[in-house]
């Protein structure tokens, strides 16, 4: 079913908009407090019904952010080459500085405590509890994306002409080289570590079944895929890059091989840019290039309009409990929705 824009947007009844001064580059939740990182180098902490509190962190833009493995702060990477830990109280601690480089990718795992930053051609690692880099892995070309499995041990690094797989907690890890011509951008590991998927410059995904390194090709996208989201059981991978959210089935040992994807929340004339599965229910939040945000149910194609047209949605995330949803458009319009208010 198409997303109906005639209905009133849910944000008007159960949420609010917050206007920030620059383009959001990440939105992360710590319980019910949102952290929004911006292109002007600042982090804005926004609690329920509270005014945003700005923390200047980087000179230049914040290019990447993730939650700190300890769950009590976020980690930011900037085009000033610094990696910083930023707490909701506004404390900023520098974890690393890489002169004249950009920190474009970050991944962290609460399970293993590992933090990884993609800096040029190197993946820099901080093992559990460390506040300075503990080891690093060099690859042949600039890193396009990083991913960790659910245990936080398997580390995938996407780059030109393929990807490299290793054990990120082991400085002397062996490596699996996965070759496929082209430029590989974002990547994601199936939570159990059975499949690795990368987004290609030419649009579409490339996948590897890691048990036997078999190649999987997943095409048909009109734009580059930049957002991945796994459902809570690791059964579905939702992907951006087309007029509908494209969901690939990962049940069984063959994954999506030979199976069609499920299409949800289709809209005419706007590409899906961001998506996020709910942590407890079979619903998917979807953001589009024209600023619309919708909620799609997997079971029956029903959708709910969450936000109306604006600038392209660049960030979208649920909190862990699934009680808050946050999103942001390129123009700095942030939407925050309280789902527990719907009782």
């Amino acid at each position: 079913m198409l997303v109906a824009e005639a209905e009133p947007a849910l944000i008007d009844r159960y949420g609010r908009h917050v206007a920030l001064d620059a383009a959001p580059t990440a939105l992360l939740w710590l319980d019910t407090t949102a952290a929004v990182t911006l292109g002007d180098g600042s982090v804005h902490w926004i609690g329920d019904d509270a005014d945003p509190e700005a923390v200047p962190v980087h000179a230049g833009a914040i290019l990447a952010a993730c939650r700190h493995p300890d769950g009590a702060a976020i980690v930011t990477g900037g085009d000033d080459g610094r990696v910083c830990r930023v707490s909701p109280a506004g404390e900023v601690a520098e974890l690393g500085a890489f002169s004249r480089k950009w920190v474009e990718h970050l991944a962290a795992s609460p399970a293993s405590g590992l933090l990884v930053a993609g800096v040029g051609k190197e993946a820099i690692c901080w093992t559990k509890g460390t506040s300075a880099p503990s080891h690093r892995y060099a690859v042949g070309s600039t890193i396009g994306g990083l991913a960790l499995d659910a245990k936080g041990k398997r580390l995938a690094i996407a780059h030109y002409n393929g990807a490299t797989l290793l054990y990120g907690t082991n400085p002397n890890s062996g490596r699996v080289a996965l070759a496929w011509t082209g430029s590989h951008l974002a990547c994601t590991l199936q939570p159990e570590g059975r499949f690795l998927l990368t987004a290609l410059q030419e649009t579409g995904l490339h996948g590897w079944r890691l048990a036997d390194l078999r190649d999987i090709r997943m095409g048909g996208y009109s734009a580059k895929t930049r957002s991945f989201s796994w459902d809570r059981k690791g059964k579905w991978l939702a992907t951006s890059g087309d007029a509908a959210a494209i969901l690939w089935p990962f049940e069984g040992k063959d994954g999506p091989m030979g199976k069609p994807p499920l299409l949800r929340a289709e809209r005419k004339g706007a590409v899906v840019t961001q998506l996020a599965f709910h942590s407890k229910d079979d619903v998917l939040a979807v953001g589009y290039a024209d600023g619309v945000v919708a909620l799609a149910r997997l079971a029956d194609e029903h959708t709910l309009l969450l936000d109306t047209e604006g600038a392209s949605i660049t960030v979208l995330a649920w909190n862990d409990a699934g009680t808050r949803l946050g999103w942001g458009g390129e123009d700095g319009r942030i939407g925050l929705l309280a789902m527990d208010a719907r009782a």
Partner: protein, 324 residues
């Protein structure tokens, strides 16, 4: 969705020692009221501290899109996306390439990547040429020749180091490769920066000023020399014939066609249609209305190797609408 204009991008090429760094230092240090983000290949050479200077990796890769000569600069795609997160911090982008770089992957990056196209547009390729050494360079280097071929603006630098006869010879050689670029002569990259930066639309209007078939056969120096062919038609061009012809031509000869540019008058259309291409990649758009006094002449320029002016003119003529 809110309309946001694209950021103009100037690409700076030129053989080693031609004077690119001098020019970059001028762009970064002069008080011209514009803020430039500069993507350089060797950060150390720039004597200015500026957080809008970014190191490039010159990472060229082939696109998996069935177009054999389609290579792009992956690092540029990444850097431009990163810079766009700081929109408002700068007005334009300048990209420096290494002396040995083939300009095609840089130019093609602006045709191929949809996200880059949506945010940035190639304003001009500026090639700095060392007047004293260029003739020797052209003997032993394809890159030097291609850098001239790709140029929208050529800065013929160090003209004080050659005599009048030598300079005339260099001018003639440059014109034999690229008849339509704007040519400025300087001694130490001293000339107004506005002649180089933010020129707009690839200086497309200049191709209207060039006489067709500017070259005579004597100008061909060797068989694989790069030459320009300029075509014109007073009769309007029929898009339903022109588009397939151009696509077929670039598909067959795209490896030899380094650049093409055109301004076209379609029958009954009030807007000028502009087309440009790099190898097999084409891009076309309605540009602006024809001015009342402007003759509606269609022009098309090819720069490349093994170009047959007669065959190209015949093909172009076949696309023209005949009087009934």
């Amino acid at each position: 969705m809110a309309f946001s204009p694209t950021i103009p991008v100037t690409v700076l090429t030129g053989y080693l020692g031609a004077g690119k760094t001098t020019l970059l230092n001028r762009i970064l240090s002069e008080n011209h009221g514009r803020r430039y983000a500069v993507i350089v290949n060797e950060f150390g050479e720039i004597g200015i501290d500026n957080d809008l200077i970014v190191d490039a990796d010159e990472e060229v890769f082939e696109m998996n899109n069935g177009c054999i000569c389609c290579t792009v600069r992956g690092d540029l795609i990444r850097i431009i996306e990163g810079l766009m997160k700081r929109r408002g911090a700068f007005d334009a982008i300048v990209i420096e390439t290494t002396g040995l770089a083939d300009p095609a992957p840089v130019a093609q990056t602006f045709f191929v990547d949809d996200d880059v196209r949506a945010r940035a547009s190639l304003d001009a390729i500026v090639t700095v040429v060392d007047a004293r050494h260029i003739l020797l360079r052209l003997e032993d280097s394809h890159e030097a020749e291609e850098q001239i071929a790709f140029a929208d603006v050529i800065l013929l630098n160090k003209t004080d180091l050659v005599d009048a006869g030598g300079l005339a010879q260099v001018r003639r050689r440059i014109r034999s490769i690229n008849a339509q670029a704007t040519l400025h002569e300087t001694q130490n990259c001293v000339f107004p920066l506005e002649a180089v930066l933010e020129r707009g639309a690839f200086d497309l209007d200049r191709i209207l000023e060039i006489e067709p078939n500017f070259l005579s056969e004597d100008d061909h120096e060797h068989d694989d020399a790069i030459t320009s062919v300029s075509l014109r038609s007073e009769a309007p061009i029929r898009p339903e014939l022109f588009m397939p012809w151009l696509r077929t031509l670039t598909a067959a000869q795209g490896q030899d066609i380094l650049r093409l540019k055109g301004v076209l008058a379609f029958p009954g259309e009030e807007q000028r249609y502009v087309v440009q291409g790099v190898h097999m990649l084409l891009d076309g758009n309605h540009q602006r209305e024809w001015k009342p006094e402007e003759p509606r002449t269609s022009r098309l320029v090819f720069i490349g190797r093994n170009l047959d002016p007669a065959a190209l003119q015949a093909g172009f003529d076949d696309c023209a609408a005949r009087a009934a």
